[in-house]
Symmetry: C2
């Protein structure tokens, strides 16, 4: 069974037209387990894989996927946005030295005793980021 067909179905479910580029990018992102990609990194992978896409399309695609629930955007480091293929509830380690984002499996981390959000506000999400570094820094 061709993976491409699965991706097409997946895109249709997300109400996105399965165009050449979207299918190719979806395969790159979703065929290798959970990943945390920056636009630039995905762009490089696409070129390596011989997929012709422009950087603008990478950004468009990443945002469309995010809006339609296929990806989750993570802002950890000002300057770069990471897109997480794991949209489930979980938190992250951020490796300061290599600027990599690593999943912390769910089941870990409990956040307790949250104060009330400000008047008229509701919680949209709770992000826990544990910054780590090489212990000989």
């Amino acid at each position: 069974m061709n993976q491409t067909l699965d991706m097409e179905a997946r895109l249709r479910e997300a109400k996105l037209r399965p165009t050449r580029q979207r299918v190719a990018l979806a395969e790159l992102m979703f065929s290798k387990g959970d990943r945390h990609l920056s636009a630039e990194k995905l762009y490089d992978e696409a070129r390596e894989a011989g997929v012709a896409v422009s950087l603008a399309t990478i950004y468009n695609t990443l945002h469309q996927f995010t809006d339609n629930g296929l990806l989750r955007a993570i802002s950890i480091d000002s300057s770069k946005t990471y897109f997480d293929t794991n949209t489930g509830n979980h938190h992250h380690f951020f490796l300061e030295d290599s600027e990599e984002v690593v999943d912390m499996p769910d089941g870990y981390v409990t956040v307790g005793n949250l104060p009330e959000p400000p008047e008229g506000m509701e919680i949209s999400s709770v992000d826990v980021i544990v910054r780590v570094r090489n212990n000989r820094s």
Copy 2:
């Protein structure tokens, strides 16, 4: 008692020369309780207050203050960096609608059951960000 003198002392303690601009900026930042400022916002406040500083100096100053423990940098939203005048241990609410950062008093939020950091790594800091929005979005 002139506030300026206090700020000068404070800068000296942090091993920074109390220059005209640094003293002025420190006063703007530290005289009004805990604040979360972006470089641009501080720049605007400085101009309003009639303090002549360039944006480059604002950035330099903000980073020097951060390196010397007077401020803490927060990356919440890719794209903008916020500088927190509260360097103590605490977490934040991020108001998605207005893009404001608000302190969550310490004593709240307990993070439990953290997994081991990856091999050879040590925890540098743990950040909890609770994103909130208007409940009629």
